[in-house]
Subunit: 643 residues, 2 copies
């Protein structure tokens, strides 16, 4: 039991830590290396010195029109009644646009104004003025002129001007080089199969992508095992080869987290523990004068620390302000509670319903990478704020373009694989319409729909009194309101069982067996309601069912729990069992439909959705999964219509 653990972390406000750290690291960050690069490779780079034209453009007097080059003096007095005749070579030469003006000539007459007399002679009927239709030397760029000032981000048009000004190489600041050291004996590359206890090294790729987005470049070092001497060597190499070093994981206060000790030994630690959530265990240190940042291992914590700490450091080096994120004001769909101990960054799903932006907080678990993928934006709760009440209008920092989010149908309710297929078919349709599904169970969906937080709720709700699905419950939940059920599928519900069903489970009654542990769905899920209906019908006490209180939020999660041996069975749909190649005991067919307000049908996005539901492509894919009946797919059932 005797292992040394780090002391508790301190907790410094983010803004103060960052400000002090940047001040201390400024001298190193401001030592920017200058590189001479070919103009063709300079796009997006910043000039390190002013760039002056080496030649003029044009560098000779050039014809600006197709026509004849002449000495203007010879045309003086020319008019319709007193035309002037000119001889080829002695009085004029033919010139195309861009051709050099011969020394003897000082003007160009457009070909349209030249009258041909014979092969050698032309007639001119109005006087030319000196230098007409001539691009004089330096009209565009004058030799010695400033083309680009120092600290200018080079754009495509700048590259053209540089070359025109005779400049082939430009002095630019080298990109910041960020070293990435992944640590942890449990971290490994993808192998098949992956042994338990091993975690795929995924953060470094995310970091590389983030640094590239910030305009830097990375070196990713091999994973360092949990051994202080190895980490020391890696850090010393990393600071020698980079402008900024990032060590991933080993920054919390766990028994194997000696990163902070190594950094203290090799250099100094300015901050260990920043008052942000997720991301608290971050370390801000220096080794050999170079900034070294320790990043927590959980992907969401890592992401937040990157955005909040690493990004400003990179932009400081780049001499640019970090790009301002697109913002939107949105109404909170749920109350958010946060601690005064930290500033909190909460992932948000957005949807525009009836003209209002609705912000639904996603999972706050630091380990849930998918919440970063699904998030449309982030809400920051400042340290001095304890949270926000439901319906508060809050600013959201967008993680993808508002336009994309704007055309997204928001669905909250029960989960089924057909929703993933629908989402995919909508995307593939290329109409710019998308479907976002949040899993809150059928009852959660009804509530969200009632509160205007979504466009539609996928539900499968059994009315115990009538034995009917969805219509009766929906009508009761929205009294007097014109609603529509978009019929989707009937699906086979039952028990998901391990391959081979070695425990020979044959029905609900087996759930009370001593050797059987189930896994359940969360309260409010249609599948949970169905199970409770069975237990009640068969007079089974839930307390007698082992695993009844272990809740999963999707069918797939139940299937995975059964498939991995974590449970002996669980209620769910046939398709989830099939996709994990598990056994399945059919118990009932249930209706899984989309409920929405009647007016929602008018949305273009919903019309697209209906086309897909009624189309062959979608129906074939659903049929292929097995366990679905599509006979009613796309039918509309109007509820609460005045009679």
């Amino acid at each position: 039991m005797a292992k040394k653990r780090n002391l508790y972390l301190t907790s410094v406000p983010l803004s103060r830590a960052l400000e002090e750290y940047v001040i201390q690291m400024a001298e190193v960050l401001n030592q920017r290396e200058i590189q001479w690069v070919d103009v063709g490779d300079s796009l997006g780079k910043m000039t390190a010195e002013p760039v002056f034209a080496r030649i003029s453009a044009p560098h000779y007097n050039a014809a600006a029109m197709d026509g004849i080059a002449i000495d203007a003096a010879k045309t003086y007095g020319a008019s319709e009644t007193t035309p002037v005749q000119l001889q080829q070579n002695s009085d004029f030469v033919m010139v195309n646009t861009g051709a050099p003006l011969p020394d003897a000539f000082d003007a160009v007459i457009m070909i349209e104004d030249v009258v041909e007399v014979d092969e050698e002679t032309v007639e001119i009927r109005s006087a030319a003025t000196p230098w007409q239709h001539v691009r004089p030397v330096g009209e565009d760029i004058v030799k010695g002129e400033l083309i680009l000032p120092v600290r200018h981000l080079i754009r495509p048009q700048d590259m053209g001007a540089l070359l025109s000004g005779g400049v082939t190489q430009v002095p630019v600041f080298r990109k910041i080089r960020v070293g990435l050291i992944p640590t942890g004996s449990e971290i490994t590359a993808m192998t098949d199969p992956l042994p338990p206890g091993k975690i795929i090294e995924s953060n470094s790729r995310m970091f590389k992508g983030l640094i590239e987005t910030y305009g830097g470049e990375t070196i990713t070092y091999p994973v360092v095992k949990d051994e202080p001497r190895l980490l020391e060597a890696a850090v010393l190499r990393g600071v020698a080869e980079n402008d900024l070093l990032v060590i991933n994981a080993g920054s919390s206060a766990g028994t194997k987290d000696f990163t902070v000790d190594v950094l203290r030994e090799l250099g100094s630690v300015m901050f260990h523990g920043i008052a942000i959530k997720p991301g608290k265990p971050a370390i801000l240190a220096q080794v050999k004068g170079k900034p070294v940042v320790g990043i927590p291992g959980y992907p969401v914590s890592a992401y937040v620390v990157f955005e909040q700490i690493v990004k400003p450091l990179v932009y400081h080096y780049r001499l640019l302000p970090p790009p301002e994120p697109e913002m939107v004001e949105a109404v909170l769909a749920r109350r958010v509670v946060s601690s005064l101990k930290h500033e909190e960054h909460i992932r948000i799903k957005l949807g525009q319903v009836s003209g209002r932006w609705i912000a639904t907080p996603l999972s706050r678990g630091a380990g849930v990478t998918m919440s970063l993928v699904r998030a449309d934006g982030m809400l920051t709760v400042p340290q001095e704020v304890e949270g926000y009440e439901k319906s508060t209008v809050v600013p959201i920092r967008l993680a993808r373009p508002l336009k994309e989010i704007q055309n997204t149908l928001v669905s909250i309710g029960s989960h089924d694989l057909v929703m993933d297929l629908l989402s995919n078919e909508l995307q593939a349709g290329g109409k710019g319409v998308a479907l976002s599904s949040a899993h809150a169970g059928s009852m959660g969906g009804l509530m969200a729909l009632k509160q205007g937080e979504c466009h539609m709720a996928p539900i499968h709700l059994l009315d115990e009194t009538t034995g009917r699905y969805n219509d009766a419950m929906a009508a009761r939940y929205f009294p007097g309101k014109k609603m529509v059920l978009i019929k989707l599928v009937k699906r086979s519900q039952g028990l998901i069982l391990p391959r081979g069903n070695l425990k020979k489970i044959t029905g609900i009654a087996d759930l009370t067996r001593e050797d059987v542990t189930m896994v359940n769905r969360q309260k409010g899920a249609g599948t949970r309601i169905l199970l409770d209906y069975y237990l009640k019908r068969d007079s089974i006490d839930p307390l007698k069912v082992k695993g009844y209180h272990r809740e999963m939020t999707t069918h797939m999660a139940v299937a995975v729990a059964v498939g991995s041996g974590g449970a002996d069975c669980g209620m769910g749909v046939a398709s989830a069992a099939a996709s994990m190649e598990l056994d399945f005991l059919h118990l009932d067919w249930e209706d899984y439909d989309l409920l929405c307000e009647e007016s929602t049908l008018e949305l273009t996005a919903v019309q697209e959705l209906l086309k897909i539901i009624r189309g062959d492509a979608f129906q074939k894919q659903v049929a292929a999964m097995g366990g679905y009946d599509l006979s009613q797919a796309g039918e509309l059932v109007y509820l609460n219509q005045a009679t």
Copy 2:
């Protein structure tokens, strides 16, 4: 004289041409190749198929805390008064965060809640619930779950999620490949010296940069000389190797422009001549079913055709809407006249003066690359609009971030090299402050300042009655208004002469000599006013001065004209002669100062400017150029103060 010329171009509205062209090319543009790439190389690419998780994350039940793994059932009933003792290995094992939960255990107790009894025994004082502090299989990602839908642009966080879900390669759309063929016998790579009639190949680099900005990649082919058979071969190769082919130049109706004939022969030409200015001679064609776009040779025309035609084609291929440009509403500083024959794109310099955005149209010459470099944005005058009156509020499409422009001091007036130095020093200062100089002559500057179009006007204006520079004229021009002259330099004005002064010009009187041709400055320029003052004083008739009517807008342009043999002399400053290594005949010292309103001094940017003017770095650079007197630099002269 007998050369075949193309027929006049047709002129189709841009929107119609583009729409019809995209429809005709849609089938080819929609044939997108799918590539499988490593997740690490997928940043910014678009998924071509939905991507599903291959494994769950975590793929085993994992400890979510440092502590001990236990069977929760063994802790039931534990409390402060009835603690439960557990034995290492049989009842518990130590686990760190992330470690797998051994099969016999179903919960984790945090180390903080574990009381050590001896090396082998611990005591627990509250019951654990099953699955507490455990990350169950699939908590983050469930095997088989949709990680990314089709047509999703891959972000850094998506890369992390893909790897966590066991996905190492993703199907993405290959980038569009755009072939670039420069044409023209006069086009050449940079050589030193560059022969007259040769033009540096600069457009292809700009095109490459633009295509990269749009998210495509390019192949640049060798320059094709003006020979139809060579162009044919290049086009056939280009369409075979690319998704879209761009031919630069040879698209107008000049004698050597046979591009359109070649394209007609190899395929078909949908449009030759689009109603945009600049850019009219553009060609939209197809060869072997592939889109081929002919782009005019002048860089500004080329840029406009790229932005208006090539960009939408690339984004069509990418399945994305072109990014919406940042816009700003600005007040036109000058009247803009445009023809009903075309939609016109006018380069604009912006400045924020007294809270209003002022839009000053830049040179409309299609050959002036530097106008693209200097432009802050573009104004589109639609085809059906004849122009805008001065002071109209118009929408400007920004070419650089508004924030950068916001901190730019706008200077309109006389040109001097010290303005370039000042601009550079401001940029180098890194305070985010910039200086933009437009050259309009001293009188032009006074007028712009009066109309609130600039912050300051650099002027050198001789008052003939008093013989004084600037103060008298400025006070007269702004009666009763509190103004300030920021004293900058005294500079040596005189005649710029060819090296060696072979024509032995010794004064103003020589300008009337038969063998002497001068080059002049534009009306309103202080230097022009000074010359006119001399001519009047010496009773010289300007009509007797050859070249009097040939006007240049900068000192450097005058020096270049003299240096290239285009003129025998011109009035200008000593520094311009020195920088071109020319001879110089000193005539007078004049004051070159910055005029602004007194309130303008309060701007941070002006305070920065004053620091630089008064500083060593700037003064040393000016002194090194020669021909300047800095004894008053940075002094302030207040005008029109109430007494």
